[in-house]
Amino acid sequence: MTDTAQRTDPAPGHGSTPRLEMRDISKRYGGVRAIRHADLTVRPGTVHALVGENGAGKSTLIKILSGAERPDTGTIVIDGSEVTIHATTDAIALGVQTVYQEPQLFPELTVAENFFVGREITRGPTIDWRAQAPRMLELLDTVGLDRSLASQPLGTLSIAKQQQVSIAKALLEQASILILDEPSAILTDAEIEVLFGVVRRLAADGVSIIYISHRLDELFRIADEVTIMRDGETVSSQPIGELTVREIAERMVGGAIAEGVHKQGQHGEQVLELEHLTLDGAFSDVSFSVRAGEVVGLYGLVGSGAAEVGEVVYGMRHSTSGRMRAAGDDAHPVTPSEAKRRGIRMVPANRSSQGSFSFQPIAFNITIGSLGLLGRLGWVSPKSERRISDDLIRRLSVKTPSGRQPIGAMSGGNAQKVVLARQIVEQPKLLVLAEPTQGVDVGAKEEIHRIIADLAERGTAVLVITTDLAEVQRIADRILVFRAGRVAHEFPPTASQASLLAAAAGAVEEPAETSGEEPR
């Protein structure tokens, strides 16, 4: 763990052969090159962090190793001999086990049963528990779970314990390489400690662990080495102690600088003001304001608490303490319908479940939030529905032959525009957008950003909540970085992506090249 492994040089002078070497891996999906060139060397008994932004190629590399995808080029060497991994069963036979972020488990079955589903040891038609139990109980010890949990239905355990079960389950087959895909994303700090304990114990037993995480700060506590990916390439690989959070963040984003779309004009009156707002379990002591015509971006990693701020502003959840003034009223909006009455609108992140009526035509989806405008005495006039929807379809350049198409048949980008259109039938005073471009293609992303800028110029106060670094940098006039439920830092739009990422991922040092604002 103290040796220095050079990128091109597979650990010279180090006694043992690497547990895993992936060399010159590339993979193309259709026209998209998911991985251009990747090398990964993992030594026995080490924790090897794999980091990169979304889309950098981490998951593809992991899928190749776990047998879910085949590489176009490259070789995989395990314990000195070249291997071919064509299916997940090949990987398992070679001792490669993967624990995915979402545990693939069965809530109604007991912990014990979850271990063996699909690979039960049987005697005749019945499950031979006497044969299965000893190994399982031993593995529960290994991951630090109490043996008495074996008979509990899995669904009654906390998420952290369920994850320990998935790790234990992965060890049921002989595992020499264990891939943990964002294991900490859904855990609390105390639960992360337990996870780290398990990981360290496994490493001490000689298991090589590939650890994927977006929380860069925690990697320094658990990883021995780190490989950084960017745009489908592995850009560096070295002992993690040689780097700082900031250096890792810089290598992850490279020199990428996106151009802002929003011209900073003068802003109007304050539309939203938060003072020491707290929602227990999500965020605490959050203070900021948004003015008319201003775009404020809340950026944070998944679980940072930024998403919940949007839900409180829109009245979906209620803060536990603090003050909020929204659209000229001192009280919180208590329900979304009250928020709407005050001119607050929201486009939720999960548009398929929260935002769209997929069997209904586009026109229906656009006008459903403002039927009061469409006629009198509760009647809906098809003519005005048509007029309003056609107008917005044109304004947002939704690509469709007519407003009569069902929204369910449209591409993600177009569907998102329709959901956005619904909220701007009447010019809102305050528009809250959560992950406005998640899962949409580049062209549509561009257009949605243009629409947001356009709305701000017409005087709407916009609050954009996103985990997309380039996005927040591009469209926001001010950027608040959330971390662990607090505003970690405020940045101007000129801040570099590396500074934003470092602040979100928990760099303790002062971001070097930004404005002189105080970290909060």
């Binding site: 547990r19 026995p44 314990d79 001792g95 693939q104 488990l105 069965f106 809530p107 109604e108 079955l109 007991t110 014990a112 049963e113 589903v117 699909g118 690979r119 039960e120 049987t122 038609p125 019945t126 499950i127 528990w129 006497r130 139990a133 000893p134 399982m136 109980l137 031993e138 593995l139 010890d141 290994t142 043996r147 008495s148 074996a150 008979s151 239905p153 669904g155 009654t156 906390s158 060890l171 002989q174 595992a175 020499s176 114990r201 496994l202 037993d205 000689g206 298991v207």
Partner: protein, 338 residues
């Protein structure tokens, strides 16, 4: 390679299977049993005739087909499916068997086999459409129920089948239908429940049904052959509905009319749901289903014996269903929130 083998050998606790397997009886089953006992005691006090063999015997005979089909339906609902075509399957199976009994006077064994095979064949139609068509089971079985009814009415050929011989009296209400006061049909249902209980608890194939209902995608990833299993549960349900059809023929008069079986699917689903099987899949027990069937029939018979208006039976069964589904959903929501 060396994996984690840190567990100190001396630490391995004495192995008790009770600590690994789910509990033998669930809370809901105990509650059901309690409700059932209370009802029987109350009915015994207010209508002394209730707790006599002359009253309990017929009640058990009526419970038998519901509990029997309930076994299959429990399997189906555990896999997060449903089968609303069982009444239609009873009808087709009963009329086919009755016609053969009338026309060729086939022996009892042959009649039972025919009934079961017809039921299994119709169940296979359901199973293949559901497993490979990937359409929600309620849609599929609602559609096939109508097809089966059409098929059954073709076999009827007239409004009734008359002069059915008493070949199947082994399953009937009469003296030939019971041994030592226990109706054969009910005994068969209990044996089926016991076998299914063992199967769901100890057999790999049985445990896998819970996995399929709990998380079908994860079950597939875990290497369970989901589709053949799904076909199988609908075939079993159909076959049991066929056997139940024999009981229906035997307990009726020598005449079979076109309404045979109608409404049975709702009674069966009521018994399963009241018995604690989650309509969302992944959880349930056949013992609960048997208790649920007994409870439903006790309420219906009890209302009659008390001389109350029969429509009250619907009211009480309805309340039981809503309570059962309600507790299930509340439990699920609290679990999700936790």
């Amino acid at each position: 390679m060396s994996t984690a083998t840190t567990a100190a050998p001396e630490q391995s606790a004495p192995l008790s299977l009770r600590r690994i397997l789910p509990p033998i009886v669930t809370g809901q089953e105990i509650v059901l049993l309690g409700v059932l006992v209370v009802l029987w005691v109350l009915l015994g006090i207010f209508t002394p005739a209730f707790l006599t063999p002359g009253s309990i015997g017929p009640l058990l005979v009526q419970v038998a087909p519901i509990a029997l089909i309930g076994v299959g339906m429990t399997f189906v609902i555990i896999t997060a499916g449903i089968d609303v075509s069982v009444a239609a399957i009873i009808m087709v199976s009963a009329v086919t068997t009755a016609q053969l009994l009338v026309a060729f006077d086939i022996p009892a064994i042959a009649a039972v086999l025919v009934a079961i095979l017809v039921g299994a064949a119709l169940g296979a139609v359901n199973g293949f459409l559901i497993a490979y068509g990937r359409v929600h089971p309620i849609i599929i079985t609602f559609g096939t129920a109508n097809l089966f009814l059409w098929l059954g009415l073709r076999v009827f050929d007239s409004s009734t089948v008359n002069n059915i011989p008493s070949t199947l009296e082994f399953f009937g209400r009469g003296g030939a239908g019971s041994t030592l006061g226990v109706p054969h049909s009910f005994a068969i249902a209990v044996v089926a429940v016991a076998a299914a209980w063992w199967f769901l608890r100890y057999a790999k194939a049985g445990r896998n049904l819970y996995a399929i209902g709990g998380n079908q995608n994860a079950a597939r990833l875990a290497g369970i052959k989901v589709q053949p299993r799904l076909v199988w549960v609908y075939v079993v349900t159909g076959a049991l509905a066929g056997l139940a059809a024999c009981m229906v023929i035997a307990t009726g008069t020598s005449t079979l009319d076109q309404s045979v079986g109608s409404g049975k699917e709702l009674q069966v689903i009521a018994a399963v749901v009241i018995g604690g099987t989650s309509i969302l899949g992944g959880r349930g027990s056949v013992v609960g289903t048997l208790l649920g069937a007994l409870l439903v029939q006790t309420v219906v018979s009890g209302v009659t014996q008390l001389g109350w208006p029969t429509q009250l039976g619907f009211l009480f069964v309805g309340i039981f269903i809503l309570i059962a589904v309600g507790t299930d959903l509340i439990r699920e929501r609290t679990r999700r929130r936790a």
